[in-house]
């Protein structure tokens, strides 16, 4: 005789057992989605923070000469105002001459025009200069003032170490090249290339640094390899200038 009650109990146990793996799988999938969502939000936040920091490098420490910002972005560098403070004791007021914003400005390749600072008219004040710089019409490109000083580049280097952001690496390599620190420029452009091998300018700085460091043959070899990989026009013209001996 069949014991129906016992059989029903066993059947219930069987059903619970058979559904357990599915319930477990659903819970696991839910947690996986949850963790992915959490991770993606976290990554986005950290990326936006890095971007903000990158944008804030010049803006954060810029002097009162900062031009009004517009949506169209093109950076115009202005010399660091820190050293001007030292002149302020001897000269009551110093006006920094402001050149009109060049169209194709390479921000960090521009050197600080120190002589101009020394020839500024004495009557003008520093604070008076920004209106002259700021674009009045919408057609004019957005000007971004940048304050480059040693503490700045150190903080950027520190941030580069923390974030391994290729753009920061390029920034630093460019800075050092512009300042004649070719070994540092070489190092940072090399790091940048290892992080992102598609940045043309980083390769150019790397090769230029090699030339400056006297390793011309290695520079040429690298340049040949890079041209064969990327077909870069700027790399070709650089190779041409190196081979002709016109590169300085």
């Amino acid at each position: 005789m069949v014991d129906i009650r016992n059989l029903e109990r066993r059947w219930l146990k069987y059903k619970i057992k058979s559904y357990a793996p599915y319930v477990g799988a659903v819970i696991a999938v839910f947690f996986v989605f949850l963790s992915i969502a959490y991770y993606s939000v976290d990554t986005q936040e950290s990326e936006s923070t890095v971007e903000k920091e990158q944008l804030n490098i010049p803006v954060k420490e810029s002097s009162s000469t900062t031009a009004p910002q517009s949506d169209e972005s093109s950076a115009v560098l202005e010399p660091s105002m820190d050293f001007v403070q030292s002149f302020q004791t001897s000269t009551p007021s110093t006006q920094i001459p402001t050149a009109p914003a060049p169209q194709n400005t390479k921000p960090l390749q521009q050197s600080i025009p120190l002589p101009k600072v020394l020839n500024v008219p004495q009557s003008a004040s520093i604070k008076a200069s920004p209106p002259a710089v700021s674009p009045t019409s919408a057609d004019k490109p957005f000007s971004l003032n940048r304050n480059e000083s040693k503490p700045d580049i150190e903080s950027v280097e520190r941030r580069f170490k923390e974030t391994s952001n290729a753009n920061l690496g390029l920034f630093i390599a460019r800075y050092h090249y512009d300042h004649g620190n070719y070994s540092e420029a070489y190092n940072f452009s090399l790091k940048t290339n290892s992080l992102n091998s598609n940045i043309d300018e980083s390769w150019i700085i790397f090769i230029k640094s090699l030339v400056k460091l006297g390793r011309v043959e290695q520079a040429k070899k690298t340049l040949h390899l890079y041209i064969s990989e990327s077909n870069s026009e700027s790399a070709r013209s650089l190779l041409d200038s190196i081979e002709r001996g016109t590169f300085k």
Binding site: V2, L7, E8, R9, R10, W11, K13, Y14, K15
Partner: protein
């Protein structure tokens, strides 16, 4: 007392081998026909093999039932493992000769030679894996001498491939493998069996979903299906007596199929 709708179907699925209960399914019918054809050929030994519950014994009984009307056929559904007894029973029942002395193979072949039939007598050996190697060798020699034609059934297990056995590797003249049924075949099997016994209402309760579940539980094995359905109709019988309102007559309850499977040990509860 036996007025229950489910008592007759329950008894139909008792696991007994009766050639009258043979149900014609396409694949089994094909197998049976090829077996019959093989028996007609001048072959000496025919092997019927498959996993337990695939219908080997039923096919052998059916063959015995059909052939015994026309020729000398002997069925050994319970193996006689003693060699002397085996030869003595064969000599007596096939050739009608019961010598008092010890029956040796040579003596048996002499008797077989002395008695001649128009058709070679057929001996059907079920569960041949239970015979000893020595007796199997004698069976082979008897068949080689064309004294008797043997049809034997063997279990095919996963561990042991019977075809590879020494006796059968070079001695098999024809082999037929039986396999488990598909869901469709099993449905035909169950419904034909029920309809044959005029259980029309119960036969209509089997839908495709039910049959898929039954096939997945029994893996298409006929013996397991019989056991499961016997148990299932026992449950229905109980519910019909105690909770008749729970029974739905348009389909079988999956829950009760699973309960029957737990009861028969096909799944663990």
């Amino acid at each position: 007392m036996e007025s229950s709708l489910f008592s007759k179907p329950r008894d139909l699925f008792l696991d007994v081998v009766n050639p009258r209960d043979y149900v014609q399914i396409d694949s089994v019918s094909h197998m049976y026909q090829s077996l019959k054809n093989s028996v007609q050929k001048p072959l000496k030994m025919i092997l019927l093999f498959g996993k337990p519950g695939t219908g080997k014994s039923m096919l052998l009984h059916k063959l015995h039932h059909d052939l015994s009307k026309h020729q000398k056929v002997l069925m050994f559904d319970i193996p006689i493992v003693d060699e002397d007894d085996f030869l003595r029973v064969l000599a007596q029942r096939i050739f009608g000769h019961a010598p008092r002395e010890v029956m040796t193979l040579t003596r048996f072949l002499e008797i077989a030679e002395a008695v001649s039939y128009a058709d070679v007598p057929i001996v059907l050996l079920d569960e041949a894996q239970l015979y000893s190697s020595s007796l199997m060798e004698k069976i082979r020699l008897i068949s080689d001498a064309r004294a008797i034609k043997f049809v034997i059934t063997l279990h095919k297990t996963d561990k042991e491939d019977v075809i590879a056995k020494e006796h059968f590797q070079t001695r098999i003249w024809e082999s037929i493998e039986l396999q488990n049924a598909s869901a469709d075949e099993l449905k035909v099997y169950v419904q034909k069996k029920l309809l044959k016994a005029n259980c029309f209402d119960v036969a209509n309760m089997f839908n495709d979903k039910n049959m898929k579940l039954i096939t997945s539980l029994t893996k298409g094995n006929y013996r397991d299906t019989n056991k499961l359905l016997f148990s299932l109709f026992s449950l229905y019988y109980w519910y019909e007596e105690n909770h008749p309102t729970l029974i739905k007559y348009n389909a079988l309850k999956s829950k009760w199929i699973e309960m029957a499977a737990i009861h028969t040990g096909l799944i663990r509860g």
